[in-house]
Amino acid sequence: MSAMLEIRDLKVDLMTQRGIVYALQGVNLALAKGELPGLAGGSGCGQALTAKAIMRLLPRDRSRFSGSIRFEGTELLDAKEKYINKLRGDRISMIFQDPMVSLNPLMTIGDQIGEIYRIHNHVSKAEARKRAAEMLELVGIPPADKRMKQYPFELSGGLQQRVMIAIACACKPELLIADEPTTALDVTIQAQILDLLKTLRKELNMSILLITHNFGIVAEVCDRVSVMYAGRVIETADTRDIFRNAKHPYSRALIASIPRAGGESEYLPTIPGAPPRLFERINGCAYAPRCPYACDVCRSSVPETNAVSENHTAACPVMMNDMAGNI
């Protein structure tokens, strides 16, 4: 499998008013052409930040980077701004959690879709408008000629997210990063948006990196999943594998907390505690304070990521060595 996107030991420090946050502490991630992997984990665990680092959306004067992000062989971390601007929107696109605020309120839908096409293809306004209409049809918001003239506030959240997708896909990107694309939407709309993403992936032959905190969504759409905790990837596996044989206790906890429609009880197991706020580099397993299996080994050094099976890696020595018996 030749990777289209390869992230190696990515570290990001953010300078905030309350001090330096060691937000990403060595992320490893690879993504091949046409894949649809998930990047799962609770909020503040670094998935969104990883995405922003790929898109180079982090403020350069308030963050520090090390490691490597390669896209089709080119290093992005120190690439020229001009190169990045050509890449963004054209070859790598991104959609965001809250479409309501992610669209420019003063610009028509048609203009917002047309803009991206014009920037990257240097075409006339009329041609851009034609492309915008095509995209509106493609993401399922007819009638295009009426929609083009509408403003974001005239559309529902679901339609707004479709517009976001139309924008992101207007230039047929190779990679689409979807940052919690359905979190702000109703459940029924969620499914429609996920279906749309699945269809577009096939039609446009693109890879999608789907960021979510919801393992139910992973089960529904992703081929593979990487689970993040406290700025690291702690487990990566095929979707089927992780549901059957998750190693890391955090992955297990996330799987256990999938909301089930029509479940017997309203009770949802939640994980006690919260992810650490990363004001220092944690020496040892970051999950230890919340982990039922934590022992001295866990606190002495950062757990290494090791292979469980062919496409399955995890960073928890305790569970992998079966030291905890058959839990």
Binding site: V101, S102, L103, I116
Partner: protein, 313 residues
């Protein structure tokens, strides 16, 4: 859009009526005696007083006086000044256009300076350029306008002779030249506030999620700033500018005095001191109409900028 404007104009009519009553009442409530002022404090017989009061309609009841005032306005007569013994309209018409042009030029200049300043500061937030420019604008705002006026006059009019030292021109075009220095003096004062509002709103807009979307689309920063964020930051800027514009019509007095322009503000202040009822009430009413017109223009601008306002109306 035209329906929206029409509706707004209709809604102004009751406001003007109510305000005219208030103005009329306030002018009468002030504890001053116009007859005494006219006679410069000389002792007069009750007969003389009565004849003067009759001459200026002061013997009539308040409601009668009010109706008389309003009725005459519709005939194009704003009354006759107690003090100058001239029609108010001719007093005002030689001054109001100058004042309005001065204030307009000052506002335009202020915007031309303040908008780029605010944008540059926002884009370079907390960097050197931002700090220096913010400090400069602070100095501008703390410098008294009349002092700036005098300095400008000394430098550019007396020394260099580029502009007339005092007095206004006779028409709009002449005034562009004659009113330039006073306009600059007034503008410098506005610049600080407008620039600061522009800066803070631009910072907010640059950090808004839609700006991030634009960047993620590959839009170059310059176009994100000017093409996306600027329009979104504009509404508060317009609000502040319009408020300052209104305040300056009377507030320009100091500068107008320095440059001997004889504006409408000075006329109003003198009229109040002299209990010159017709001048006071008519100028105040005209001011109100000017304010309401500015407000209307501002509302129309809002609607032109923001579809949420335009399509809601």
């Amino acid at each position: 859009m035209s329906k929206y404007i029409f509706k707004r104009i209709l809604s102004l009519i009751p406001i003007v009526i109510i305000v005219s009553v208030l103005i009329f009442a306030m002018v009468r409530i002030t504890p001053s005696d116009p007859v005494a002022v006219m006679m410069k404090g000389k002792k007069i017989t009750p007969e003389t007083r009565a004849s003067i009061e009759a001459q200026f309609d002061l013997d009539k009841s308040y409601p009668e006086q009010y109706i008389c005032w309003i009725r005459n306005i519709f005939k194009g007569d704003f009354g006759t000044s107690f003090h100058y013994k001239q029609p108010v309209l001719s007093l005002v018409s030689s001054r109001l256009p100058n004042t309005l042009q001065l204030v307009m030029m000052a506002s335009l200049l202020a915007l031309l300076i303040a908008l780029p300043l605010g944008i540059v500061c926002a884009v370079n937030m907390n960097r050197m350029a931002d700090r220096v420019l913010s400090l400069l604008t602070l100095i501008f705002v703390s410098a008294p306008t009349f002092l700036v006026g005098i300095l400008l006059m000394l430098g550019f009019a007396v020394k260099l002779g580029w502009f007339p030292v005092y007095g206004a021109g006779h028409n709009f075009v002449e005034n562009l030249h004659a009113l330039f220095l006073p306009a600059v003096a007034l503008a410098l004062n506005m610049v600080a506030l407008i620039a600061r509002i522009t800066r803070s709103n631009m910072i907010e807009q640059l950090n808004a999620p839609y700006a991030q979307t634009a960047i993620a689309k590959g839009v170059p920063l310059r176009k994100v700033v000017m093409g996306h964020c600027f329009k979104n930051a504009l509404i508060p800027v317009i609000t502040v500018t319009s408020i300052q514009f209104g305040g300056m019509i009377v507030g320009a007095v100091l500068v107008e005095n320095v440059f001997a322009l004889g504006g409408v503000g000075a006329l109003l202040i003198d009229a109040i001191k002299q209990a010159d009822y017709p001048v006071t009430q008519s100028i105040t009413l005209m001011m109100v109409v000017v304010f309401l017109t500015i407000n209307l223009i501002v509302d129309v601008l809002y609607a032109a900028i923001d579809p949420r306002i335009r399509l809601d109306a």
